[in-house]
Amino acid sequence: MLLAFAQQNGGHKGHDHSGHNHSGHNHSGHNHSGHDHSGHDHSGHDHSGHNHGNKGKGASHDGHGHKAGAGHANACGYVHDNSVFNPGKVAFHHISDQNIYSIGPWHFPLPCIPYSTDKGLDFFSSSKFAADTHGTSTKAYKRYVLYEGAMRRIKDSSFPQEQVDIGQHNVFTTSRKDAKGKERAVVNVCYNGKSYECDNKSTADFGLFGGGFTSFYDFSITKNVFTMILIAFLLGLLFISIAKKYKKNPKAAPSGAQGFMETMFVFIQDEVCKPFLGPKWEKYTPFLMALFFFILGLNLFGQVPFFGGSNVTGNLAVTAVLAIFAFFVVNFSGNGDYWKHIFWMPGIPAWVKTVVTPVEFAGVFIKPITLMLRLFGNITAGHMVIVIFVGLIFIFGENGANPTAAWGTSIASMALTLFMMAIELLVAFIQAFVFTILTASYIGASTEEHHAH
């Protein structure tokens, strides 16, 4: 994650110097009529963030008749401006799922599988988008574009279906007030001088994170999906090879990875399964082990810097599915006593039951919801803090304008990041353990036999 992050900002600077740094241009001969902003409708655009970062440059612009939002506006009036570092946006970009897999400076395309209600299922590689270093497409394909790594669909059906060149910085966000008066970001595509609005990201989170139910459904093998498949495959390989070792020679002392895995396996078995599940612990052990090692594997893989920066367990959909599994296992294995304690708690007066029953019933759903949020919150917070620590370099270095401060901050930031990563290593284990132990305690509570009241 770190290198990808530094890279992107390096990329920002690169853009600034090649195309957008006006100090290197000779302005005397420029005819700026082409950049005249007066003819464009700026009402929907957010220009509040404009700042040249270097006052001297700004002054020289004024001398040449540039308006407040100096920069290179595209045909739709959008000005690509990287002189202001927006830490919140960068942090969210880096924890979100993407259709590109990045290892260090290399970007690998992933399969895109969108399903749209009008055009049906499509299957193509994300290399069709010819994304730049930000993961924003320079080409549109079948009305789909990539914006900061995530696939979006152009709403207007008159947009060409085939692969079309839209060029750099022509996919951009504007903000608009929705029906409730809340500011919403809208992604637009500028093609042939016309601005096309895009649908939201395809997510199943009811629009909580800016996505929602859209005109297309994204079944792509995204970065997170790829990482999950990879981890499941690696865990399968590891456990099958260890299981074979035990089968071949059950009396031998464990060696290599076997020793490491056996320690964790026995720990979960003795500390989680046996004390919480009672006599039937063997029945639920495979489920709990799968939960623990899958979450642990994903947590640890997310900690690996430069390698995709996968934030899988920090994705609400992933933790939601894990929690739903836990919910089904808890409630389907629940015995009569469990349901009796929820709907008609024995041993208390009837009027108290009217209060206890709704609370207990809500608890059935609150338990998996807290499981989901706890894992999501902890892992996302960890990733976010690391991105912000790295972002401090760009905040204090004024996004490249003050290299001395940037170098100074980078030393402090590196130390803080290292410290944070050490803590995150601990959190990776603790959260996997907590998810497992809580699931075990819920299963234990639902299967417990009550003899006397």
Binding site: L373, R374, F433, L438, S441
Partner: protein, 67 residues
């Protein structure tokens, strides 16, 4: 202004959880000091309790984002 109010709400939620987890930690330390041989059980239960308290705080923080 709604954004800053939400931030205050998130902060208040964290204060509550911090007091709760602090109490759990203090009680666990005391219990371990009284009965060092039960350290394994106490630690597991301490983490479990801390996770439950944390769950309430996380719900509050998330709600503060969305409301």
């Amino acid at each position: 202004m709604t954004g800053s109010l939400a931030a205050i709400g998130a902060g208040l939620a964290v204060i509550g959880a911090a007091i709760g987890i602090g109490n759990i930690g203090a009680a666990a330390m005391e219990a371990i000091a009284r009965q060092p041989e039960a350290v394994g059980d106490i630690r597991a239960n301490m983490i479990l309790m801390a996770a439950l308290v944390e769950g309430a705080a996380l719900i509050a923080i998330l709600l503060s984002f969305f409301v």
